[in-house]
Structure formats: structure tokens, C-alpha cells
Amino acid sequence: MNVRLFVLGMDMFIASVLLVVYGLTTGSTGLVGVGVSISVVGSVIAIYSAAPGEPTLGAILSYTSMLAHAATAMVEDLDLLSNKVCVHSASTSTLIVYSKTTCPDAPNPGVGFAGGSPYFSIPVSVFQEVAKLEELSSQHLEDSLNSLLVSELGFCKAIRVEQRGELLVVDVIGLAKPLVNYTKYPVDPVVLLPLAVIARLVGEGKIHLVEKETTPEYTRLIVRVEGVA
């Protein structure tokens, strides 16, 4: 659900009811007409806020399953199932990197070797038009993540961010149902999307996934931000 649209629709509906009441008390049927008309607009906006995506969602999910299987086969072949995940964000590209040891300094898209160990990196381009945060604080990050992942993508119900020393604790609450099935794959959307968006928001540098905890209520990602320019 798009909360912004829903609030707008409800606000218009409430204002229109007040206008109708005013029109009725003053005996102005023209105002009543305008009020009823605005209430229709408010209702339409509120309904559109709850409208799901295109019915092609099923096709997109099938396609995503194919890609998830392909990526899983690749990760298995490279023996990266017990991997470390990081996001390498440079001025020209952002790469999600699965590696056995440390995050490579200059990874290339696809499969490569760094320090004698293989890595698998996926180029991502999410929210390219979004500017990076001027100040990296947990509150700013939480607001931005909620705006981008919750309001725009409907990724989950809410995101909570807490800063613990140099670590950021990101709680992904109420993951969207169509995405739940993909959390069992190594290429996990509950990890990849928040990390990619955090990388986009903090600018150039590396984002390391230190730990991931899954509970029935939320998925907790503990991340470390390194070398932000």
C-alpha cells in the first residue's frame, strides 16, 4: 500500500465531508456538489493507494525464480554458500559481492578471483536518481529506507535502523509475501535490496553484512559501513 496516497485520499475525503456539512447548513447545494465531487476524488485516490502492481507480477516472480536458481547454481559451483556479502559502491557502479574471505577492493561484475579466492559479484542499479545522504545518522537512514523500500517498492511494512558503535542494525519488518519464498535462496532479497539501497544512500565505499538474524517478526541485518567518501 502506498501510505502517502492513502493519507492524501483520506484527508480529501474528510475535508469534503466538512464541505458537504457546511453546504447543507448554509443551504448551498453547489457547495454540497463540490464536496461530494471531492469525496469521490478522495475515495478514488484511497483505492489507488491499495491497488497492487500489474497482474504481470506472476510473470515477474516466475522470471525472478529462474534467475534465483541460476544465481544459486553459480554460488554453489563457486563454493560460496557459506559466503560473506558486501556491497562495493564506486562512482560508476555498485556491485553486490559474494566472497569467501574479505570483500575485494576492486571487483569486476560476474565471477572473479581476489586473494586466491573466488567471488561472485552482481551489478545493481537501484534508485540511481536518489542523492546520497548528507549526514549518515540512523534516523536519516531509517527515514530514507522507509521512503524508498516501504512507500515506493512495498518491500516490507517498516524498517527500523539503530546505530551501535560502528555498526548499523537494520530490522526489516513484515517482508512482502511474494518475496518470502526467495529468502531461502543465497541471493536473498531481504539482504540484497536493503544493502544496495544503503550503499546508494551512503555513497562510495563498502557495506559489509556482518550478521543476519531471522525471527518470525523481522529480519535483522547488522551492517558495517566502510570508507564512505
Binding site: 447545494t29 453547489g30 457547495l31 465531487s37 478514488v44
Partner: protein
């Protein structure tokens, strides 16, 4: 998905602009029939929808909304036609 959101927002923008201008015009002309405002509003919605076309195939919720608005519009027009014929 972002493209879809933009189209929905564009639809709402066009719809609100058209409705606001039509409501102002009707009010200025001294129109006092409430059903005229509703009918014009629904017409503006369908014009906005046809111009913007936010979905290649509308979700069921939007289809239900379109059907409901069409029924309301048909009832209003039917009453007006009936009034004219009954005179």
C-alpha cells in the same frame, strides 16, 4: 514498479486538475444539482484514465472501481434521460 507508480501519480494529477477546473466552472455557472457534479467528476476520471492508461491490464481492485463509477454514472444519466422523456 517505479514507472507504474509514476503513471498512477500522473493519473491522479490529471484527474485532480480536471476535476478542480470542472468543479470551479460548474460552481461559477451557478450549477446546484449535486448529481451534475458527480457525473462530471466520473467523466473526468474516465478521461484521465484513458489519457494516462496507468496499467496494461488493470488490477481487480481498479476494475471494480471503474465498474462502480460506470454504474453510478449510468444511473445518473438514466434518471436525467427519464426526466426528459417523462415530461
Amino acid at each position: 514498479m517505479r514507472e507504474l507508480l509514476r503513471k498512477v501519480e500522473l493519473l491522479i494529477l490529471v484527474y485532480v486538475i480536471l476535476t478542480a477546473s470542472m468543479n470551479s466552472s460548474l460552481l461559477t455557472l451557478g450549477e446546484s444539482r449535486v448529481d451534475a457534479y458527480i457525473a462530471v467528476n466520473i467523466l473526468m476520471y474516465f478521461i484521465s484514465y484513458a489519457v494516462v492508461r496507468p496499467f496494461s491490464e488493470a488490477p481487480s481492485l481498479v476494475k471494480a472501481l471503474n465498474a462502480a463509477l460506470l454504474i453510478v454514472f449510468t444511473i445518473i444519466v438514466a434518471f436525467r434521460v427519464y426526466e426528459v422523456l417523462a415530461k
